[in-house]
Symmetry: C2
Subunit: 116 residues, 2 copies
């Protein structure tokens, strides 16, 4: 793909994070949400196909695992793998960026406000 002048390969990371809903989806996974239906409701206008696509992709990339509980009301859980959990600092940084936006570039006042 792109060049190789850089160490490791941010390209692999890009492959993981790409996609319209991926960042939002991961954020919910980090918040402990594990079930398909719940994720779907939280990402609201997302279509089931898209959500499935994203989850499968993350599964292939080793970011989440899928566990099926064949109980009567069928139920499935998605959990972050070790590799996925190592992405957390990234989301922390994102949260901090958002907070820094809220406080405003030239604003000195404390504006605590909203949590993520």
């Amino acid at each position: 793909m792109s060049e190789q002048t850089c160490p490791g390969s941010i390209e692999r990371l890009v492959e993981i994070l790409e996609g319209k809903w991926t960042l939002l989806l991961l954020r919910h996974l980090f918040n402990g949400v594990t079930r398909f239906g719940v994720l779907r409701r939280m990402l609201h206008p997302i279509s089931p196909k898209t959500l499935t696509d994203r989850l499968r992709l993350l599964e292939e990339r080793g970011i989440v695992t899928r566990t099926i509980y064949s109980e009567v009301p069928l139920h499935v859980e998605y959990q972050l793998t070790e590799r996925g959990r190592r992405l957390e600092p990234l989301f922390v940084a994102m949260g901090e960026w958002v907070r820094s936006e809220d406080s405003g570039p030239e604003n000195e006042l404390i504006s605590t406000s909203l949590s993520s």
Copy 2:
């Protein structure tokens, strides 16, 4: 897009980071690359249209500024704004993730009950 479910709004961040080349492009900007032609060469197979589109989008979002030097060999520089520079921790985190991939994929006694 998604919407109101969360405060602060990581959505705005998503709007900035989305797009096939955005992360790679920003990385080069953080590395001090400022000129169109150089960026183009570094992102190699990218088309001029795509690169322009991305840069314009980042400009609209207040992440980069565009400065035209109407000297004879026309030349333009793109620089990160204050808002853009505040994204740096994110890229640092990305770099660390990549490094963690390189160093320790072996200490994963993973499990991953994948079945796809």
